[in-house]
Amino acid sequence: MIKVKIEFLGGLDVISNKQREHKLIIDKEEGEATMKDVISAICEKIIADEKDIPVFIEDETVRPGILVLINDTDWELEDGENYVIESGDVFTFTSTLHGG
């Protein structure tokens, strides 16, 4: 079991009943799960209304315009979707599209 923390910022909390922080448990052994598992777990367990999934996902990955940080580092520098997750990791998703 891998325990991680999810944050929705920049207005993205609209997809999770306005709750910005979530704990998430991934049912795999350390070393076996990647960012991909986190993304699908978010869709299954956190997004309140199925209709909101397209706000988060496009073409099977995180929608362009949503900034993804893994422990405060841009996920582009951490292998993106292939990042191997560990317990205690913090994943931050920030919408850059909301508000000005």
Binding site: L9, G10, G11, V14, R63, P64, G65, L67, L69, D72, T73, D74, E76, L77, E86, S87, G88, T92, T94, S95, T96, L97, H98, G99, G100
Partner: protein, 371 residues
């Protein structure tokens, strides 16, 4: 929350900052794909904006400048950066926060709380101008009366004038806004897509001084990527507000934004490239021709897309007859719009207390009904 200590991962060499080569890189610049640590990112981000400001000669020493502040990420970062640069490089500016209260319950009232905190955090005076005070109409009332479809058209015209009036009241003739490179590319693209060549030519200027407004406006973030603004706000833990306005943003802008984001995902430099194209776009001057059409037009005409055309026949007067605001027409755009609304308000009897607050929701529900 339990704090789990975990063994530090070994740093790969590729994970180091490409500027200082000492700290871990945390971000990749969309502009040039350079990987930077937090400290170097701050430095590069701030220095680039300083260079934009000095290259364009935006400010004069001693000038008082109003920061158009909405509580959103762009204007919050702008206020923070203006304060930082003003102190670091001794611009000698007096900075004031200028906010507009459109009168949108659940959106603007919350974001104004953010601005009020910013006032304290950045130690700047704050002036709030409200539509209700200025025009006797709040956006909620306007939407209740005319529907959501044109809300942004109304809002845009009213905001422009409200900012001017707020600045004039404070004796300020320069407003900086948080428009960033993504916004600018979006505007260029949008104007190309809908053939609005007249706006296209002007859409990239960093400083605008127009005959329609006594106040100059400038955009210190013209070359600053949205992604970097969001990262800067995040790493610096700036206090910003990010709830979407209750009224649907202009549909076409939304479509253009999606398109731009999709393009950017493949080619991050596209934002700069579009701005570059916009900057070099010049209209071929049309020859003055005598119009053979002899259509009799109304003084004003609201087009299908919600924009407004004014008949320019009596352009000599340069003040609005009704409110005195600068205008090349008899009535300024705001008065024309509001005049139309007043006529409507007389027709609709509103149970103001209950209906106005829920106007957004109600209208949205109504617009989804079909027959």
């Amino acid at each position: 929350m339990p704090v789990e200590s975990k063994p530090e991962k070994k740093l790969k060499v590729t994970a180091l900052c490409e500027l200082c080569h000492g700290r871990k890189a945390v971000m990749k610049r969309p502009k040039n794909l350079q990987k930077l640590c937090k400290e170097c990112f701050y430095k590069v981000f701030e220095t680039e904006i300083h260079n934009t400001i000095t290259d364009a000669n935006l400010f004069q020493y001693g000038e008082t400048v109003a920061i158009g502040a909405s509580g959103g990420k762009d204007s919050t970062v702008l206020a923070s950066i203006m304060k930082t640069l003003n102190e670091r490089y001794n611009y000698g500016l007096k900075l004031v926060l200028l906010s507009i209260d459109e009168g949108i319950v659940g959106y603007r009232d919350d974001s104004l709380d953010t601005v009020k905190r910013n006032k304290i955090q950045y130690d700047m005076p704050l002036e709030i101008v409200s539509y209700k005070e200025l025009y006797n109409w709040s956006m909620d009332e306007i939407v209740a009366c005319s529907g959501m479809r044109n809300s942004c058209t109304y809002c845009g015209v009213l905001r422009r004038q409200a900012l001017d009036r707020g600045a004039a009241k404070l004796n300020i003739n320069h407003i900086v806004t948080g428009h960033n490179a993504d916004d600018m590319a979006e505007t260029v693209l949008m104007n190309i897509l809908r053939g609005d060549t007249k706006r296209l030519e002007k859409s990239c200027s960093i400083l605008t001084e127009s005959a329609d407004s006594p106040i100059k406006r400038s955009k210190p973030f013209k070359y600053t990527y949205q992604k970097e603004i969001v990262l800067y706000a995040h790493y610096k833990k700036l206090d910003y507000f990010s709830t979407e306005c209750s009224y649907a943003p202009e549909a076409f802008r939304g479509t253009t934004r999606e398109l731009l984001k999709a393009l950017e995902a493949n080619r991050p430099s596209i934002i700069m490239d579009i701005i570059y194209s916009g900057e070099h776009f010049e209209l071929k001057r049309k020859k003055q021709t005598v119009s053979y059409k002899n259509k009799k037009k109304d003084e004003t005409q609201i087009n299908a897309d919600g924009s407004i055309s004014l008949n320019k026949d009596f352009t000599k007067a340069n003040k609005c007859e009704k409110c005195g605001y600068l205008s090349s027409n008899k009535l300024c755009k705001a008065c024309v719009l509001l005049g139309g609304l007043e006529a409507n308000r007389a027709k609709i009897t509103l149970d103001t207390d209950t209906s106005v607050e829920g106007a957004a929701k109600l209208t949205r529900t109504l617009e989804h009904l079909s027959f």
